[in-house]
């Protein structure tokens, strides 16, 4: 439908006025399109807005029987409380950051090494390994969480951020490798050949030529490893039971005691933990979308 409208674009700038536009051939489609777009924007933004508005609303306002779409009084009290000493939230944010950063570093490094070998070197078992990586990437966590729980318990890595990081490597390493393989293939091989003729070793070629040339792809791999780990829930829920080692997502779920929900605090915590992925997305969109199209994202 959309494509059909394209010829309209060729119209001269002067024709861009609303009235002229409305007289054009496919205007009905455009009107419907804009209305739908508006509806989609509202549907998309409302929960985000509501989360933010709740986090800034005083409790009296939150529990009043009439709701206003805009907070009557703005307050930072929920943020103060959730970040204060009565909650372990600050520590849990730190845990999340530690695990996400560790996962990102390890998986980008391993991904670059394996990705390079799988695209540029000839050795037996190469295709099998490439295939295994895709299988591993697609293997659902619901099948792995019980055995990983038992394994980590035996290894003494339950309630341990190292154990959680290991669990996260199950999806970030295959993804990073896969993503970087796709990118390495597009790097012209002549550069490497020249370096090899000049006496550089393969190892040097990887770190001196391939990695510097693959900056954007490495960023994409890193961004995804970071966001996937930051947002992960199931493994963290299963592997972490002590509040002190919990990551922010499971910590948030654990604040619910019985039927008691402190919505102001919860939405404040939720807003804080949405910030890293949101900021990465808003400022690194180019990379995010590149990774997305490489089959990066779990929906």
């Amino acid at each position: 439908m959309a494509e059909a409208i394209r010829p309209v674009e060729s119209s001269r700038p002067g024709e861009r006025g609303l009235i002229l536009w409305l007289t054009q051939k496919n205007r009905a489609y455009y009107l419907v399109g804009y209305l739908l777009l508006l509806a989609l924007a509202l549907w998309t933004l409302f929960p985000v807005y509501w989360q933010l508005a709740t986090s800034l609303r005083a409790d009296v306002d939150l529990f009043s029987p009439t709701v206003t779409l805009v907070p009557r009084v703005l307050t930072g009290e929920h943020y103060e409380k959730i970040l204060g000493p009565s909650y372990p939230f600050l520590r849990q944010l730190r845990n999340s950051a530690v695990v996400a950063i560790a996962t990102t570093v390890v998986s980008t490094l391993l991904g670059a090494m394996a990705g390079y070998a799988l695209t540029r070197l000839r050795f037996a078992g190469r295709t099998v390994l490439a295939r295994l990586l895709v299988y591993a990437y697609l293997a659902p966590g619901t099948i792995l969480f019980i055995p990983l729980f038992v394994m980590m318990s035996r290894l003494g890595l339950r309630d341990n951020l190292v154990g959680l990081t290991l669990a996260y490597l199950t999806f970030t390493v295959p993804f990073a490798t896969w993503m970087l393989m796709g990118y390495f293939r597009t790097v012209p091989i002549e550069l490497e050949e020249a370096a090899l003729i000049d006496g550089a070793s393969r190892w040097q070629v990887l770190w001196r030529i391939m990695v510097p040339l693959s900056g954007p792809a490495l960023v994409v791999a890193a961004v995804f490893a970071f966001t996937l780990s930051w947002n992960e829930f199931l493994y963290a829920l299963v592997l972490l039971q002590k509040q002190q080692v919990m990551t922010a997502p499971v910590g948030l779920a654990a604040y619910v005691v019985g039927d008691q929900y402190y919505w102001g605090q919860m939405m404040a915590a939720a807003t804080i933990m949405s910030l890293p992925p949101l900021v990465i997305y808003l400022f690194g969109q180019r990379w995010v979308i590149a990774g997305w199209t490489a089959g990066a994202v779990k929906d």
Binding site: A117, R122, P174, P277, Y281
Partner: protein, 314 residues
């Protein structure tokens, strides 16, 4: 598991006479070893281990006893056992949940992609905006939706009561007739940007000339959509459906946070059932067996996806 076995066989047949190792075998193995260790140690081994656990009567902290296919028999056949009803309920719920989520994400993703692909003003801005749910952690949006649906002071209920549309709050998450729908809406909200993205990429790959030719022949936009866009988008749709089917059916956050499987198990998908069996009933055997029953379906999906992805990569 079948997948792994096939892969192994290929590996054996392609192995190990030195002359056939390839000219870079030494560095090749050195560089891939760490990733290989992760895949084998943290994915393949646990997968095999899950199967082994599923053959045992084993509780958390206890010794396992080998019972063959006993757990599977209890799940699938033994209508006397407690878990039998729960399991078949989870099959039904998972199917409904997955089908509903895929349908919703497809519709919203398609509409969004078509609009974003047309000549609208500020396309970049709208695209950024519509992808925002993807960037929000699933746990966060699950809680936000729970708050929106809340019966006491939840915005949806307050609005409906203030507008005089309902007398008393609707129990969006506690009414067995509504709960699955409510969870679905939250899951669709978060999941549709992925579909928008893949569809948008697919639309951009369709040559413009086709539409120009069709326009000259007098095809209207709807005809063009059904005769050109949809057929040419089919490969993209297939891959997206398969990927999303795996991820959606396995996602636990929404059901866990919004309803925890309730009311009366109407939202207990199989991952949540496995979680409850393993982590609250401490039955590791049953908890391992539940997802493995679904494994053949995933294995088939993964097999086709992998073939396609490897083919794409050339």
């Amino acid at each position: 598991m079948a997948l792994l076995r096939t892969a192994e066989r290929t590996a054996v047949s392609a192995a190990p006479r030195t002359s056939r190792l390839g000219r870079d075998f030494w560095l090749g193995y050195a560089l891939t070893l760490p990733a290989f260790v992760v895949v084998v140690g943290l994915v393949a081994y646990p997968l095999g281990y899950a199967f082994w656990l599923s053959l045992q009567d084993i509780k958390v902290g206890g010794q396992g006893q080998f019972i063959g296919l006993g757990n599977y028999a209890r799940l699938l056949l033994d209508s006397e056992s407690r878990i039998y009803g729960l399991f078949w309920n989870s099959v039904k719920v998972t199917a409904l949940y997955t089908a509903g989520a895929l349908a919703g994400k497809f519709i919203i993703g398609m509409i969004s992609a078509i609009i974003l692909h047309s000549q609208i003003r500020a396309r970049h801005f709208w695209r950024t905006l519509l992808f925002i749910p993807w960037a929000i952690p699933a746990v966060v949006s699950a809680f936000t939706w729970k708050w929106i649906y809340n019966d006491v002071n939840g915005v949806l209920n307050t609005l409906l009561t203030n507008l005089g549309l309902v007398e008393r709050p609707i129990l969006f998450l506690a009414d067995p007739k509504l709960a699955l729908w409510s969870v679905l809406i939250a899951a669709i909200w978060q999941g549709s940007p992925f579909w928008t993205m893949t569809f948008l990429a697919g639309l951009q790959a369709i040559p413009r000339e086709l539409y120009e030719a069709a326009a000259i022949d007098g095809a209207n936009p709807l005809q063009q959509y059904f005769r050109i866009t949809l057929p040419l988008l089919t490969p993209v749709i297939t891959v997206t459906v398969m990927l999303s089917a795996i991820w959606t059916s396995n996602a636990i956050q929404y059901v866990y946070i919004l309803t925890n499987g309730g009311p009366a198990n109407v939202t207990e998908t199989f991952p949540l059932l496995a979680y409850h069996e393993g982590m609250t009933a401490y039955d590791l055997g049953i908890a391992s067996a539940i997802p493995l029953v679904f494994f053949p379906i995933f294995a088939i999906l993964i097999y086709f996806l992998t073939r396609r992805m490897l083919r794409q990569e050339g």
